[in-house]
C-alpha cells in the first residue's frame, strides 16, 4: 500500500466551494425580492414596517446561509482529500510477454486489469463489471468474461453480449514508457467504447 494524493473533485476546484454551496445562498437571495412587494404596498406606518421587514429578511438570509454553509461543510468533510489506495499507474513488463490471443490475468489481483492481446492490439481492460462493479472472471473454455454477480458476459475484446450489463468493459490508458521500454498502464484515464474512445491511440498499443 502506498500513499497517494488524489485530487478529488471537490478539492481540485480553485475556490474550494462545491456545488451545494453555490446553490443555497442563491436560493435565499431569490426569496427576498419576492417577499418584499407584498409587504411594501401595505398601508400605513410604511417606514417602520419596511425597516422591520428588511432586518427580518437580512436575518433570515443570514440564518439560511449559515445553515447552508454548515451543511456544505459537513458534506465536504465526508470527502477525503488523501486516499490510501494502491497507485493507479504501474508497469506490467514488455510487449513480448503478451502473446497474441492471450488474456493475461497476472495483474488482476493487485491492480485490477487484464492485459489482452487481441486482433493486433494490446489493451488493458479494467476488471470491473460495468453493471454493478463486481470483478468478472475470464473463462478460457468459453472464451468470454463472465461476471459472477448478475451474469453479465463480455467477449474477449470487452464488448458486452449477455446479461444485464448496459455497456462494454472499460479500457485503461496504456503506453510504452520511453525510459525503459516497459508497458505503462494508467487506470486513472479510462476509455469508453460507447463514447467512441477506443479509437484513441492512448487506449491500445499496436502489436504485430
Amino acid at each position: 500500500m502506498t500513499d497517494e494524493k488524489s485530487s478529488s473533485g471537490a478539492a481540485s476546484e480553485a475556490d474550494g466551494s462545491s456545488a451545494p454551496a453555490a446553490v443555497s445562498p442563491k436560493a435565499t437571495v431569490a426569496r427576498v425580492p419576492a417577499a418584499k412587494p407584498a409587504q411594501a404596498t401595505s398601508q400605513g406606518a410604511e417606514i417602520t414596517r419596511r425597516g422591520l421587514f428588511s432586518w427580518a429578511a437580512v436575518g433570515w438570509v443570514g440564518f439560511t446561509a449559515a445553515i447552508g454553509g454548515c451543511m456544505t461543510a459537513f458534506g465536504r468533510f465526508m470527502f477525503p482529500n488523501v486516499l490510501f489506495e494502491p497507485p493507479t499507474s504501474f508497469k506490467v513488463g514488455n510487449t513480448e510477454d503478451f502473446p497474441p490471443g492471450v488474456v493475461d490475468e497476472r495483474f488482476k489481483e493487485a491492480n485490477g486489469v487484464w492485459i489482452v492481446n487481441n486482433e493486433g492490439r494490446l489493451t488493458a481492460l479494467i476488471a470491473i463489471c460495468t453493471h454493478l462493479g463486481c470483478p468478472p472472471a475470464w473463462l478460457e473454455a468459453q472464451n468470454k468474461f463472465k461476471c459472477p454477480c448478475h451474469g453479465s458476459g463480455y467477449y474477449k475484446n470487452g464488448i458486452n453480449f449477455e446479461g444485464p450489463t448496459p455497456r462494454p468493459l472499460e479500457r485503461a490508458k496504456i503506453s510504452i514508457d520511453p525510459d525503459d521500454g516497459q508497458i505503462l498502464v494508467d487506470k486513472s484515464q479510462k476509455y469508453l467504447w460507447e463514447q467512441g474512445q477506443w479509437d484513441d491511440p492512448s487506449s491500445f498499443i499496436e502489436v504485430s
Partner: protein, 305 residues
C-alpha cells in the same frame, strides 16, 4: 427437506430468517383477512365489530398490559438464545476485493431490490424505485381519504387500499426476496428449488431493445444513428404511460370515482406512484414474453429504462 440441493439453500444460517418470514407473513396475512372477514360479517348483521365491542371497557396497565409484555420479552429472549446456540453466525474467508464469490448477494432484506436489477438499470432499481417506495409509503395516509376502517380489521370497506398494499407487500416485496434468495444461483441465473447450483449453467440471453424490435424487426430498416429518432417509440410510450394514461383514466367510471373523491392533487400523485409500481411487473412480463431489454435505451447519457 430431503433433497440435498434444496436443503443446502434453505438451511443456510442466513436464509433461516427468510424461511421464518415466509411463514410469518403468510400466517399474519391469513390472520388479518380472517379477522377482517369476521368483522365484515358482524357489521352486515348489524352487530358491532369485535374491536368496537371491546373498546368501551378499559383495564389497568398494571397488571394486564405489563405482564403480557413481560411474558413476550421472556419468550423472545429464550427464543433468541436458543436460535443463537443452534445456528452459528456465518463467517466466510477474509475480505478480498479481487475474488468475487459466485453468486454475490446483498443482505437478504435487499434481495428484492437486487432482483429488480435483472429488469432495470441500477439508477432505476437502486435509486429511483427504492426512493419512490419510501415516498409512496409515506404518502399513503395523505392519499387515502377513505375515513372508514380506522382502528379495526375490515376488508369490505377498504377493498382497493388493501388489495393494492398486499400486491406491493406480498407479491412484489416478499416474493421477490424469496426468488432472489432461493431461486437465484451462480451468475444470478434462475434455478428451480431442487436444481443443483451449477456454476457453468449456460443461459442463452437474447434480450433486445424496443427500438430494435420496431426499427429492425417490424420496419426492416436499420437503427437511426441519432438517439432521438432511434428511441422515439420508447419515449412516446413512457410519456403515454405516465402522462396521457392518468388523464385518460379519469374518464373511466371506476377511476373517476377516485378522482371525484380525492381531488386532482391526491389522484395524480397516487396514480403516478401506482403506475411506477406497476412498471416492475409490466417490465417483467415483457422480459419473459418478448425478451425486451430496454424500453428506452439512451446509452449516450446512461439513461436506460
Amino acid at each position: 427437506m430431503l433433497d440435498e440441493n434444496f436443503r443446502s439453500v434453505v438451511a443456510k444460517p442466513d436464509n433461516v430468517p427468510i424461511v421464518m418470514m415466509v411463514y410469518l407473513a403468510g400466517y399474519f396475512w391469513w390472520l388479518a383477512m380472517y379477522k377482517a372477514i369476521k368483522n365484515d360479517e358482524s357489521t352486515e348483521n348489524g352487530a358491532p365489530t369485535f374491536e368496537k365491542s371491546e373498546s368501551e371497557d378499559k383495564v389497568f396497565t398494571w397488571p394486564d398490559l405489563v405482564f403480557s409484555e413481560l411474558i413476550c420479552m421472556v419468550v423472545l429472549t429464550v427464543g433468541m438464545v436458543v436460535w443463537s446456540i443452534v445456528l452459528k453466525a456465518p463467517l466466510e474467508e477474509p475480505a478480498n476485493l479481487s475474488v468475487a464469490p459466485n453468486p454475490s448477494k446483498a443482505p437478504w432484506y435487499f434481495l428484492g431490490l437486487q432482483e429488480m436489477l435483472v429488469y432495470f438499470d441500477p439508477w432505476m432499481a437502486g435509486v429511483v424505485l427504492p426512493g419512490l417506495i419510501i415516498v409512496g409509503l409515506m404518502a399513503i395516509p395523505y392519499i387515502d381519504t377513505n375515513p372508514r376502517g380506522n382502528g379495526y380489521y375490515t376488508f369490505k370497506e377498504r377493498k382497493t387500499e388493501i388489495v393494492l398494499f398486499l400486491f406491493g407487500y406480498i407479491v412484489l416485496w416478499v416474493q421477490l426476496i424469496v426468488i432472489g434468495t432461493f431461486l437465484r444461483g451462480p451468475n444470478w441465473n434462475f434455478f428451480g428449488p431442487y436444481e443443483f447450483w451449477d456454476i457453468n449453467k449456460i443461459e442463452p440471453l437474447v434480450n433486445i431493445d424496443l427500438s430494435e424490435i420496431i426499427w429492425i424487426k417490424m420496419l426492416g430498416v436499420g437503427l437511426p444513428s441519432h438517439w432521438l429518432p432511434r428511441e422515439i417509440f420508447g419515449i412516446l410510450l413512457m410519456i403515454g404511460y405516465f402522462i396521457v394514461l392518468p388523464v385518460a383514466l379519469t374518464k373511466v367510471k371506476y377511476f373517476k370515482r377516485f378522482y371525484d373523491e380525492m381531488g386532482g392533487a391526491r389522484y395524480y400523485t397516487g396514480i403516478t406512484l401506482f403506475l411506477t409500481m406497476m412498471l416492475l411487473p409490466i417490465k417483467m412480463f415483457a422480459r419473459w414474453i418478448f425478451n425486451l431489454k430496454y424500453i428506452v435505451h439512451i446509452q449516450e447519457f446512461f439513461f436506460n429504462i
